[in-house]
Protein backbone atom coordinates (compact mmCIF):
# COMPACT_ATOMS: atom_id res chain seq x y z
CA UNK A 1 0.00 0.00 0.00
CA UNK A 2 1.33 3.43 -0.92
CA UNK A 3 2.61 5.54 1.95
CA UNK A 4 0.30 8.45 1.06
CA UNK A 5 -2.74 6.13 1.18
CA UNK A 6 -1.61 4.70 4.50
CA UNK A 7 -1.12 8.20 5.95
CA UNK A 8 -4.60 9.19 4.72
CA UNK A 9 -6.11 6.12 6.37
CA UNK A 10 -4.35 6.94 9.64
CA UNK A 11 -5.64 10.53 9.50
CA UNK A 12 -9.20 9.29 8.82
CA UNK A 13 -8.95 6.87 11.75
CA UNK A 14 -7.35 9.44 14.05
CA UNK A 15 -9.97 12.11 13.42
CA UNK A 16 -12.71 9.46 13.62
CA UNK A 17 -11.50 8.46 17.05
CA UNK A 18 -11.37 12.15 18.03
CA UNK A 19 -15.03 12.57 17.08
CA UNK A 20 -15.90 9.37 18.94
CA UNK A 21 -14.21 10.75 22.06
CA UNK A 22 -16.05 14.07 21.68
CA UNK A 23 -19.38 12.23 21.34
CA UNK A 24 -18.66 10.13 24.42
CA UNK A 25 -17.54 13.11 26.53
CA UNK A 26 -20.48 15.20 25.30
CA UNK A 27 -22.93 12.46 26.24
CA UNK A 28 -21.30 12.15 29.66
CA UNK A 29 -21.60 15.89 30.26
CA UNK A 30 -25.31 15.57 29.44
CA UNK A 31 -25.72 12.67 31.92
CA UNK A 32 -23.31 13.78 34.65
CA UNK A 33 -25.41 16.67 35.91
CA UNK A 34 -28.32 14.30 36.60
CA UNK A 35 -26.07 11.76 38.36
CA UNK A 36 -24.34 14.40 40.51
CA UNK A 37 -27.59 16.12 41.48
CA UNK A 38 -29.55 12.95 42.24
CA UNK A 39 -27.06 10.41 43.57
CA UNK A 40 -23.63 11.47 44.83
CA UNK A 41 -20.93 14.08 45.35
CA UNK A 42 -18.91 14.82 42.17
CA UNK A 43 -15.69 13.33 43.58
CA UNK A 44 -17.57 10.11 44.47
CA UNK A 45 -19.03 9.93 40.94
CA UNK A 46 -15.60 10.45 39.38
CA UNK A 47 -13.94 7.83 41.61
CA UNK A 48 -16.50 5.11 40.92
CA UNK A 49 -16.86 5.89 37.21
CA UNK A 50 -13.07 5.61 36.82
CA UNK A 51 -13.18 2.29 38.70
CA UNK A 52 -15.94 0.89 36.47
CA UNK A 53 -14.18 2.19 33.36
CA UNK A 54 -10.95 0.52 34.45
CA UNK A 55 -12.68 -2.83 35.14
CA UNK A 56 -14.52 -2.78 31.80
CA UNK A 57 -11.30 -2.00 29.92
CA UNK A 58 -9.44 -4.72 31.82
CA UNK A 59 -12.02 -7.30 30.74
CA UNK A 60 -12.08 -6.12 27.10
CA UNK A 61 -8.31 -5.75 26.71
CA UNK A 62 -6.85 -8.26 29.15
CA UNK A 63 -4.43 -9.37 26.43
CA UNK A 64 -2.78 -5.92 26.70
CA UNK A 65 -1.75 -6.43 30.36
CA UNK A 66 1.48 -8.33 29.48
CA UNK A 67 2.52 -5.33 27.35
CA UNK A 68 2.32 -3.15 30.45
CA UNK A 69 4.75 -5.43 32.29
CA UNK A 70 7.17 -5.50 29.31
CA UNK A 71 7.15 -1.75 28.51
CA UNK A 72 10.15 0.47 29.34
CA UNK A 73 10.00 2.05 32.79
CA UNK A 74 9.98 5.51 31.24
CA UNK A 75 6.77 4.73 29.32
CA UNK A 76 5.14 3.36 32.49
CA UNK A 77 6.18 6.51 34.33
CA UNK A 78 4.62 8.78 31.67
CA UNK A 79 1.42 6.71 31.68
CA UNK A 80 1.05 6.89 35.47
CA UNK A 81 1.77 10.63 35.54
CA UNK A 82 -0.75 11.11 32.67
CA UNK A 83 -3.36 9.35 34.80
CA UNK A 84 -2.55 11.53 37.81
CA UNK A 85 -2.70 14.68 35.65
CA UNK A 86 -6.12 13.62 34.36
CA UNK A 87 -7.31 12.98 37.93
CA UNK A 88 -6.07 16.45 38.89
CA UNK A 89 -7.95 17.90 35.91
CA UNK A 90 -11.23 16.19 36.76
CA UNK A 91 -11.00 16.91 40.51
CA UNK A 92 -10.16 20.59 39.94
CA UNK A 93 -12.98 20.85 37.39
CA UNK A 94 -15.57 19.44 39.78
CA UNK A 95 -14.25 21.50 42.68
CA UNK A 96 -14.45 24.67 40.59
CA UNK A 97 -17.97 23.81 39.49
CA UNK A 98 -19.03 23.31 43.10
CA UNK A 99 -18.20 26.93 43.95
CA UNK A 100 -18.88 28.80 40.70
CA UNK A 101 -21.37 28.55 37.83
CA UNK A 102 -20.70 26.59 34.64
CA UNK A 103 -20.64 29.75 32.51
CA UNK A 104 -17.65 31.02 34.51
CA UNK A 105 -15.70 27.76 34.92
CA UNK A 106 -16.20 25.81 31.69
CA UNK A 107 -14.93 28.49 29.27
CA UNK A 108 -11.63 28.58 31.18
CA UNK A 109 -11.32 24.78 31.12
CA UNK A 110 -12.20 24.79 27.42
CA UNK A 111 -8.86 26.49 26.57
CA UNK A 112 -6.99 23.27 27.37
CA UNK A 113 -6.24 22.55 23.67
CA UNK A 114 -4.39 25.90 23.48
CA UNK A 115 -2.36 24.98 26.58
CA UNK A 116 -1.65 21.61 24.94
CA UNK A 117 -0.32 23.48 21.87
CA UNK A 118 2.18 25.37 24.05
CA UNK A 119 3.23 22.23 25.95
CA UNK A 120 3.59 20.32 22.65
CA UNK A 121 5.79 23.05 21.21
CA UNK A 122 7.99 22.96 24.35
CA UNK A 123 8.17 19.21 25.04
CA UNK A 124 7.18 17.33 21.86
CA UNK A 125 8.98 19.26 19.12
CA UNK A 126 10.66 16.14 17.78
CA UNK A 127 7.33 14.28 17.65
CA UNK A 128 4.84 16.89 16.41
CA UNK A 129 4.88 20.14 14.47
CA UNK A 130 2.68 23.02 15.58
CA UNK A 131 1.67 24.78 12.38
CA UNK A 132 -0.10 28.13 11.94
CA UNK A 133 -3.13 26.29 10.53
CA UNK A 134 -3.37 24.14 13.68
CA UNK A 135 -3.07 27.22 15.91
CA UNK A 136 -5.79 29.07 13.95
CA UNK A 137 -8.07 26.04 13.85
CA UNK A 138 -7.64 25.43 17.57
CA UNK A 139 -8.30 29.09 18.40
CA UNK A 140 -11.52 28.97 16.33
CA UNK A 141 -12.66 25.78 18.05
CA UNK A 142 -11.89 27.12 21.54
CA UNK A 143 -13.62 30.43 20.76
CA UNK A 144 -16.64 28.57 19.45
CA UNK A 145 -16.78 26.30 22.50
CA UNK A 146 -16.68 29.34 24.79
CA UNK A 147 -19.62 30.85 22.87
CA UNK A 148 -21.52 27.55 23.15
CA UNK A 149 -20.92 27.32 26.90
CA UNK A 150 -21.97 30.87 27.70
CA UNK A 151 -25.07 30.54 25.54
Amino acid sequence: MKLATRIQQWRFLGYGFGFAAASAYGSTQFLARHVVLDYAHPIVVVAFSITFGFLILLVLFQQEVPQVTRAPRRALFWAVVAGLAAALGVSSQFSALSIAPVVRVSPIIAVNPLIALVLTHIFLQRLEQVTLRIVMGTALVVGGVVLVIIS
Binding site: Y15, H41, V44, A96, E128, T138
Partner: protein, 142 residues
Amino acid sequence: MATALALLSALGFASAAVLSRLALQHLRPPALTILSLLASGAVMLTLTFLLYREAVLALVPVAFGWFALVGLLNYPVGQLSRNLGIRFVGVTRTLPVVAIAPLIAALLSITLGGETLTVSLGLGTMAIVAGVILILTERPGT
Protein backbone atom coordinates in the same frame (compact mmCIF):
# COMPACT_ATOMS: atom_id res chain seq x y z
CA MET B 1 -10.39 30.55 43.72
CA ALA B 2 -12.75 29.08 41.08
CA THR B 3 -10.69 30.67 38.30
CA ALA B 4 -7.48 29.18 39.71
CA LEU B 5 -9.11 25.73 39.99
CA ALA B 6 -10.44 25.99 36.42
CA LEU B 7 -6.98 26.92 35.11
CA LEU B 8 -5.49 24.03 37.09
CA SER B 9 -8.08 21.75 35.50
CA ALA B 10 -7.21 22.95 31.99
CA LEU B 11 -3.51 22.44 32.75
CA GLY B 12 -4.26 18.93 34.07
CA PHE B 13 -6.18 17.90 30.93
CA ALA B 14 -3.59 19.39 28.58
CA SER B 15 -0.70 17.80 30.48
CA ALA B 16 -2.45 14.40 30.48
CA ALA B 17 -2.72 14.52 26.67
CA VAL B 18 0.93 15.52 26.19
CA LEU B 19 2.16 12.90 28.68
CA SER B 20 0.01 10.28 26.93
CA ARG B 21 1.74 11.16 23.66
CA LEU B 22 5.12 10.42 25.28
CA ALA B 23 3.89 7.09 26.68
CA LEU B 24 2.36 6.12 23.30
CA GLN B 25 5.87 5.82 21.85
CA HIS B 26 6.20 2.53 23.74
CA LEU B 27 2.64 1.53 24.77
CA ARG B 28 -0.44 0.72 22.70
CA PRO B 29 -3.48 2.93 23.45
CA PRO B 30 -5.47 0.25 25.37
CA ALA B 31 -2.50 -0.53 27.64
CA LEU B 32 -1.89 3.21 28.23
CA THR B 33 -5.54 3.78 29.07
CA ILE B 34 -5.64 0.85 31.51
CA LEU B 35 -2.47 1.97 33.28
CA SER B 36 -3.46 5.64 33.53
CA LEU B 37 -6.91 4.69 34.84
CA LEU B 38 -5.30 2.43 37.44
CA ALA B 39 -3.20 5.36 38.68
CA SER B 40 -6.02 7.93 38.67
CA GLY B 41 -8.54 5.44 40.09
CA ALA B 42 -6.26 4.57 43.01
CA VAL B 43 -5.85 8.24 43.91
CA MET B 44 -9.54 9.13 43.49
CA LEU B 45 -10.82 6.09 45.45
CA THR B 46 -8.40 6.85 48.30
CA LEU B 47 -9.58 10.47 48.41
CA THR B 48 -13.20 9.37 48.26
CA PHE B 49 -12.96 6.94 51.17
CA LEU B 50 -10.91 9.42 53.22
CA LEU B 51 -13.20 12.42 52.69
CA TYR B 52 -16.64 11.02 51.76
CA ARG B 53 -16.82 7.63 53.48
CA GLU B 54 -20.29 8.18 54.90
CA ALA B 55 -21.62 9.41 51.55
CA VAL B 56 -20.28 6.23 49.92
CA LEU B 57 -21.95 4.00 52.52
CA ALA B 58 -25.26 5.82 51.92
CA LEU B 59 -25.25 5.20 48.14
CA VAL B 60 -28.33 3.48 46.72
CA PRO B 61 -27.76 0.45 44.43
CA VAL B 62 -29.13 2.19 41.31
CA ALA B 63 -26.39 4.83 41.65
CA PHE B 64 -23.79 2.21 40.77
CA GLY B 65 -25.61 1.54 37.50
CA TRP B 66 -25.26 5.23 36.59
CA PHE B 67 -21.59 5.22 37.67
CA ALA B 68 -21.01 2.21 35.38
CA LEU B 69 -22.71 3.99 32.43
CA VAL B 70 -20.71 7.19 32.96
CA GLY B 71 -17.55 5.08 33.38
CA LEU B 72 -18.24 3.15 30.15
CA LEU B 73 -18.82 6.33 28.11
CA ASN B 74 -15.96 8.34 29.60
CA TYR B 75 -13.17 5.80 29.67
CA PRO B 76 -13.48 2.68 27.44
CA VAL B 77 -15.17 4.84 24.78
CA GLY B 78 -13.99 8.41 25.46
CA GLN B 79 -10.47 8.18 26.84
CA LEU B 80 -9.48 5.17 24.74
CA SER B 81 -10.76 6.90 21.58
CA ARG B 82 -8.84 10.04 22.56
CA ASN B 83 -5.65 8.02 23.04
CA LEU B 84 -6.20 6.25 19.71
CA GLY B 85 -6.65 9.64 18.05
CA ILE B 86 -3.41 10.89 19.62
CA ARG B 87 -1.68 7.71 18.43
CA PHE B 88 -2.75 8.25 14.79
CA VAL B 89 -2.67 12.05 14.31
CA GLY B 90 -1.02 13.51 17.44
CA VAL B 91 -2.05 15.75 20.33
CA THR B 92 -2.38 19.03 18.42
CA ARG B 93 -4.81 17.52 15.89
CA THR B 94 -6.83 15.33 18.28
CA LEU B 95 -7.54 17.73 21.16
CA PRO B 96 -9.33 20.41 19.11
CA VAL B 97 -11.64 17.71 17.71
CA VAL B 98 -12.25 16.26 21.20
CA ALA B 99 -12.90 19.80 22.43
CA ILE B 100 -16.24 19.94 20.56
CA ALA B 101 -17.76 17.80 23.34
CA PRO B 102 -19.66 20.78 24.88
CA LEU B 103 -21.27 21.36 21.47
CA ILE B 104 -22.50 17.75 21.44
CA ALA B 105 -23.78 18.17 25.00
CA ALA B 106 -25.60 21.36 23.92
CA LEU B 107 -27.14 19.61 20.88
CA LEU B 108 -28.31 16.75 23.12
CA SER B 109 -29.81 19.28 25.50
CA ILE B 110 -31.71 20.89 22.62
CA THR B 111 -32.93 17.65 21.00
CA LEU B 112 -33.60 15.61 24.16
CA GLY B 113 -33.73 18.16 26.95
CA GLY B 114 -36.06 20.68 25.33
CA GLU B 115 -33.62 23.59 25.52
CA THR B 116 -33.69 26.30 22.85
CA LEU B 117 -31.14 27.27 20.20
CA THR B 118 -29.64 30.71 20.87
CA VAL B 119 -27.68 33.15 18.69
CA SER B 120 -24.43 32.57 20.59
CA LEU B 121 -24.90 28.80 20.31
CA GLY B 122 -25.38 29.15 16.56
CA LEU B 123 -22.32 31.42 16.19
CA GLY B 124 -20.27 29.14 18.43
CA THR B 125 -21.26 26.12 16.36
CA MET B 126 -20.16 27.84 13.14
CA ALA B 127 -16.80 28.80 14.69
CA ILE B 128 -16.25 25.23 15.89
CA VAL B 129 -17.09 23.75 12.50
CA ALA B 130 -14.77 26.25 10.77
CA GLY B 131 -11.93 25.43 13.16
CA VAL B 132 -12.37 21.68 12.77
CA ILE B 133 -12.46 22.01 8.95
CA LEU B 134 -9.21 24.01 9.06
CA ILE B 135 -7.52 21.24 11.04
CA LEU B 136 -8.98 18.29 9.11
CA THR B 137 -8.10 19.74 5.69
CA GLU B 138 -4.44 20.33 6.52
CA ARG B 139 -2.31 18.54 3.96
CA PRO B 140 -0.23 15.58 5.21
CA GLY B 141 3.41 16.32 5.84
CA THR B 142 2.81 19.75 7.42
